[in-house]
Symmetry: C2
Subunit: 151 residues, 2 copies
DNA sequence: TAATATCGGACAATTTTGCTCGTACTTTAC
DNA sequence: GTAAAGTACGAGCAAAATTGTCCGATATTA
């Protein structure tokens, strides 16, 4: 539970990598995927979503790639997660449309409070900028990387 | 991502149900599972874990069941989640033993910062007590219930 | 026009989660 | 003491999400 997806990890690493380059440098998906050893097709999707959300600028054609649309100290974790994984939802019951409402239970004692928890989670991620994740520790003892947990 | 498991939802609802009863009332797994329409075998596991962690007292034999070991305003979400799902881990890289260290990546720019995010998450859940989830809203408009999200 | 990119959908593999079944073991009631 | 009601626990299956792959289309530059 509450584990970050690999896709989000890829995205954060890519943002950090772009930030290490001079401003407005355009970097291809392949370069990033080779540097970190990520599957390039998956990273490609992640970068697409980030650019769709306006966090990256895409440059098509030969010599193209992606560049930062904003400095990463102005990009919150909330934005990254929602760009890559969609809206942060702790529970489906909180969805707008309500198509998947569960009528199989007698009591609903926790819907609104759970939503409050969700909001506090989002607030927390709002306050954390990507640079706080990527810039702090460039000299890491072990060669290790973000991946999902196994409960 | 970041979705609560149904098991945690079951646990929180069960804790709330027990709290509605007079103090030290013993309630069987079957009663709770029938009230909420949960699969009793799964709920049984959840309650076992909660009692193993000291959040519930188990009463074996005929007429047995579970009772609250503590008032639910003294039980944090962290305790519930860790009892039911194990330690809160955003990433496997942060594990103690380090058996699953990933040596497939060149750079590790985010390990320690990610751990800080994890700690802030745990702190957040430390401050939220179960009663804040269960007691607030007994008059819920729709019959709905906590379940996991679908990204 | 050829090479190199981003796009985007469809799909298989893998992992996690949710759930079921079966079999112990404990205690209470009779 | 025996049976019933309950917890304790583990193996195993099904569903769902995540991850990774493949393929074609489009855009841009050399």
């Amino acid at each position: 539970m509450l584990a970050l997806t690999k896709a989000s990890g890829y995205g954060i690493l890519a943002l950090g990598y772009l930030d290490d380059k001079p401003e407005d440098t355009v970097v291809s998906t392949r370069e990033i995927s080779e540097v970190f050893g990520m599957p390039s097709e998956l990273l490609a999707k992640v970068l697409q979503r980030l650019s769709k959300r306006g966090l990256l600028k895409s440059h098509q054609g030969r010599g193209g790639g992606y560049s930062l649309a904003r400095p990463i100290n102005a990009i919150s974790l909330t934005e990254v997660f929602e760009a890559i994984e969609g809206p942060i939802e702790i529970s489906v019951c909180l969805k707008e449309g309500g198509e998947e409402h569960c009528d199989m239970f007698e009591y609903c004692t926790i819907k609104a409070p759970i939503e409050q928890v969700q909001n506090r989670l989002i607030e927390l991620f709002n306050t954390i900028m990507v640079d706080q994740i990527t810039l702090d520790l460039l000299e890491c003892p072990e060669k290790t990387y973000l991946s999902t947990s196994r409960a």
